[in-house]
Symmetry: D2
Subunit: 455 residues, 4 copies
């Protein structure tokens, strides 16, 4: 396994990564992107085990509700890059299982690749969302055929792909791009049915980074986003060659295109649900005015409904024949949906309670300035025992978390991650036990078990 | 234990019970109230065990999450009178436990009474809500001092009480009125701190019944409320003598007045939450038009959040030193609250989907009439395979359940049972782990463990 | 013009109308249906003008925002049958205007018929909603071809129609059935494109009545629905001959099928919006506990938003070249939508505030009974100045209006009248000024007037 | 009247204003604060009239619904500083009117000051919100007596004040601080009952600025906040002397303390409501994917309800005996409340529809970079006719407006401006016609005009 420093060195592999219009040649040394590298490096050091062939503890496959709960709790504490690496590995193994009967060679290739990736101790990011062009048209019917990533050439030793993947968290900080179709493909859309692993440094890969990281001179006013941030990558494949042993779908078998994204969905939403459990509590905790009880009750009730969903998702997990525990699809999706749908209201409550100082609390530098510092301290305080520095910091935290660039990032990401509200509604619908509900209704109506047409 | 018929006979004890302005002398034979008596009698037959000293299986105290779940499931299938009897017994035992250290005699009296009640196999109803007079004034400060039930005389062998209790489900069908204070009392309100067991047939007790039962000639159009209904009793204590061995608080110890109602709260709300799990599913099941997906998704998601809350309430039960499993206060209250608060929207979705025939589907008699029956059958049908009788019945069920007298009863009862939305919000707030939430928030704000005032 | 008594007599025209399985031969004398007849007769007496050729004041066509407001206010005070007669006349004249250019003969026939109807002073009801069979199939593709009303025979002097129309308020109390297509028809669905006026007493017409009217012996407990109620008619056309001068679309010109329903929509929703203005205020007024401020604020705010929408609909009316003032489509639909969508929450607030006595207040007969009357009066009172009779009546009103059969009728009707939430959303979308909104957005984004593709 | 350049020069008056820890000596030349100065200067040039004694057109007092509408529309186009100056003048004149009978000298002083301010053509900002200390205690009962602005010394020629006012928009860019009590004061809180006009450059005034202005090197990615922004001032009065002719309440007459804030409320909320009319449309306009109809319908319906409220507020204005038209308190507050309460949901809909590129669209510099520009253009495009530059700009606008620092500023300000949701609910409740609603309810209940206690 790599140490943090070995990880830092591994990023110098010729990758073409851009930020604010400039190519970045020294990622670990970059004033903004380097902070994300540091977080990832700390993750390497945390899980480092010098034993040959060791595999990180964050990789363990849970086998029961108890182990699933432990794994969920562990992943609440790891950096984002470590977490997506785990979700990627779980996705690949799940997909291998699902295609094995029909595509045994591809399943074997996936498993071999996973084993090798664990040996190399690399970090993996998830390239799913295509550029998409005109959303009302199918992939094969776009003005620009590259609007979805596709195979443009087949060679004896591999394939060449072209296209772009959007919103790829930490793409520039990982080693491998797990590149999979964004949705199911239909017959005739074979070229778009492509799943493969692409090294970040491969020729033709370009990544443009964007980030909510504050650009302010004094990042102390951003107690959250000033300390941790992860850029999103806009990943472009400009005619990239991928060798055969890294190709799992090669522009064929469109009937399997959706298997990878579906495998990913559950793990991604479980992560999202677990993050809501913490995030909702955090919003409650940021509130400070005890007497505005109705809004706080609403916040607590929503936080507890989210937590109940996670409890039910874990306790009602299903264990596969391999002994792997999967959280309940229904409870995971319903909890994630409720969390995403109500986040805006939770934040509104917090803004309503906390007041205008969210926006207008003077900064840490104003506290440092001797002409103004004592006055800020005086007038931002409440009781003698609660001074203005403490309250100023709390307001900075609320602004940073909910009403500035990071807050905007959460607002959108909470909705869009794991496929958007719409996708979570669909999956909830699929897994709800409708037959049971119908039976209850007919019994209550004293219509017994009667089939449709009978009186 | 009694049989159903023995139960019927036991109601002829001189009780003064009224309906629509008339005193009822033959409850089992009454065309409307007799139906509730039948349901209760069936409950007696179901649990009858001829062994001497036998106690009904519905009385078992659960000792683990598993047994708690079984008990919840069992009580989903019993009649209302059986269920409230169980909740009353649990309430009394819980209260005995809580007052034991300070009022050992009273605790012993409760336990003795419970043992005897189980031996006599009687049914108990719950008299809590007082008339209240002007809600903005305390009990002792009303124009009419009887607005809250109170002790008007103390004798060597017991007490005399006066007042009224409202909304007492099935009061006329039980044997014992568990009469407890509606809320906490303050020093000086001693006379209102009264808890005792009053036989329904005791001199001075009068009960006025109201019911959502349909008065229509043809109750087939009311597939639910035409088959089962329970009257609410308006119970009046016109100077009723209660012997000492039935008195648990005798117009003294106002500091214990709230113990009984609080003990009842958890069990009542658990019952409410469990009923929502079924009731929400039932609403989903009553919906029939598969393509209106957004509303149905909403309904399913809400139904599943309710179910997740029940799951979490059971799995996170606490087991007392006596080995009794109590469901989680937090999850029980939050789930009950969410169910109550969203019921109106669930019904609105159902009405929106199902359309005007909820109101205007012709009745069963119109189907019988040979001039009109074949036409109703023709025009209420959809496919050849779904005839108009089936659909008419389904519309009757929806109307009965959600848009007629029974529907109104559910609308109000779901909100008010277990103390109203307000009470459930308070309890949720009390049990939410606010310290944990604050800790999460401060950590996220990089403000560590710092106490309030420190920088 | 007819008097009330002449109207009563006019109903004895051989009409085949059914109730609870029996044909009714004496409508004015029927214990339940006769009450609606009385309301309609009172409407005749109110507007009676003995002058030859007089036309009812409720028929006036408004020509300005001011007159439109007066007409809206007038119709808030008339009985339902009078109101739908007016809306029908306005619908027919609007439709005549819209088809005139292409179908001048039909337009002339409509105008002639309207003139004659005004002379005869008849009442008109609106037959729109077809039986529909399987909602996912077009009219011409049903198992039963009669699922939508259609022309089954053309004769030289008229047409023969077959089918059924559902949810026709007061159908049995009017003289004429304005029978129009429920939606647009496509080429090949000509036979379903039929609009005509059918006398209620025409051979082959059968009407089955349903009603929320209380069947209780003592209707004093139903202060609203015990005094006024209107049955819904299930209207069946069993091969009914309609003479040519009453036929406006004769199973042809499917491109005009939707004109009538669209013409009706605006007037129906304006009526609905105006009723909400009153109905929302009424809900606020029924609430009695002044200190539950948050819920009451919500109720008042919603009531005022509804009123603001009516204000804006009237003030922004458009006046046609004929000088007729039409309310704004946008504000009418948005207000009606908001009222319908939030009604369930308004009622929930009322139920939450008012408490369980909505359901369990003893009846008027219990107040009459000398054993119980004084006790009900005592324990349902609050202050000495607010006695129990007053409060009992108020609770009866709340139950009747929101939590019993009439309440269910409002719950469903508010949603479904005027085409359901879905239809109101569509019309709102059509009339919203999207181009203006886009322009505002692009200006704010400093993207000026730039067309789509330009940088 | 001043020109823009004269305004710029007027700011060099020795004012002590701070930003990010440093005192600013050249406001017009400051890279961030100077932009706000430019906006204000443009406002001066726009309304400049060289005639001696001219008064800006933006100052006109409307006298009818028509003129009120024109004034509302005019103020939608002016810069913030001009708008608050107008609202301040209206507030002062309204307050003068209300105190005249009791405090004629003070009323005269206000009117004289206003006349002089108009002659000097100065800009005024609104200092209301005090530091407040512990919100659960009264002003006179704080650990620090300066938590609310107060009079610390009375002199023969004026008063000396101490304290701080928070969230003062554009305080550093105006000439005069309209300093008024934040709420009503009680007897004994006389020293806190202080209203006066303080020049920004007066000795002892210090202002700390905060702003959502982007600090990024390339502000093209912030099409809104990169072009216009206004800092919020944290205004401190460190023992500031105010001459008598500028003092309207001098630490006495606490019964009039609230008059000023109440006078301000209506004008501030009208401005807020008018801004919502535009802002909601803008959110609708920013949405680009036509087929997600349900969410867009919701957005349009809310935007139209807001617009209906403004329509009703204007049409139902009241004209005072002086001929000044005031918008309806009820409709203004209800509309502002609905806009504020639903803003979070509107933004959520937009985020749900628009997708992750809100956050991750590459920046303008990435479009400039020749290695990446053509690729961004290609993959951010949809149709050939909608290229990637256009779409990138649109995503920047959405992020800037709703999901970055400016978006956070709107989220909080929409809730808190004009006193917060709570204040708007209170005012709505005060102005709703409850007697009318009760009358409607009693009539519907057939309880006639009966007084409370009568049967």
């Amino acid at each position: 396994m790599m140490t943090g420093d070995e990880y830092r060195a591994s990023l110098d592999d010729g990758r073409a990564t851009f930020f604010e219009g400039e190519q970045i040649f020294d990622l670990p040394g970059h004033p903004i992107l380097g902070i994300t590298v540091d977080s990832a490096a700390a993750g390497y050091d945390r899980f480092h085990d010098p034993a040959p062939g060791a595999v990180g503890a964050f990789m363990a496959v849970p086998g029961s509700a108890k182990e699933l709960r432990e794994q969920v709790e562990l992943h609440e504490t790891v950096d984002l890059l470590t977490h997506v690496t785990y979700a990627s590995i779980m996705t690949l193994l799940t997909a291998a299982d699902r295609i094995e009967a029909t595509l045994p060679d591809q399943a074997a290739r996936i498993r071999a690749w996973v084993k090798d990736a664990q040996r190399r101790d690399v970090r993996i990011t998830q390239c799913i969302t295509d550029a998409k062009g005109d959303r009302s048209r199918r992939p094969g019917n776009q003005d620009d055929p590259d609007a979805y990533v596709r195979v443009i050439e087949r060679r004896s030793d591999g394939i060449v792909i072209r296209g772009a993947k959007l919103h790829i968290s930490a793409a520039s900080m990982g080693h491998e791009l797990m590149t999979i179709p964004t949705k199911g493909m239909k017959p005739g859309e074979d070229q778009y049915s492509v799943a493969c692993m692409v090294p970040v440094g491969a020729p033709g890969v370009k990544i443009i980074n964007t980030t909510y990281a504050p650009r302010h001179a004094d990042t102390r006013d951003f107690p959250m986003s000033g300390n941790h941030h992860t850029p999103e990558g806009f990943v472009i494949f400009e005619d990239v060659f991928v060798p055969s042993d890294r190709v799992f779908l090669a522009g064929e078998h469109p009937e399997f295109a959706a298997v990878f994204a579906h495998s990913l969905g559950l793990w991604e939403r479980l992560g999202g649900l677990a993050a809501f459990v913490t995030g909702y509590d955090r919003l409650v905790g940021l509130e400070r005015v005890g007497h505005i009880k109705e809004k706080i009750s609403d916040m607590m009730i929503n936080a507890t409904l989210i937590r109940a969903s996670l409890e039910a998702a874990i306790e009602n997990c299903s264990v596969t024949s391999d002994g792997a525990a999967f959280p309940s699809e229904l409870y995971t999706n319903v909890g994630k949906y409720h969390g995403a749908a109500n986040y805006a209201l939770m934040v509104r409550h917090l803004h309503d309670i906390a007041g205008g100082s969210i926006l207008t609390a003077p900064g840490m530098a104003d506290l440092d300035n001797e002409q103004t510092g004592h006055l800020v301290r005086k007038y931002m305080g409440t009781l003698q025992s609660v001074d203005g520095i403490y309250r100023s910091k709390l307001f900075h935290a609320i602004r940073d978390y909910t009403a500035d660039a990071l807050g905007g990032w959460y607002a959108v990401t909470n909705l869009q991650a794991g496929g958007g509200l719409y996708a979570q509604r669909i999956v909830s619908r699929l897994h709800y036990d409708l037959e049971h509900a119908k039976k209850l209704a007919l019994e209550a109506a004293h219509m017994g078990e009667s089939a449709n047409g009978s009186a």
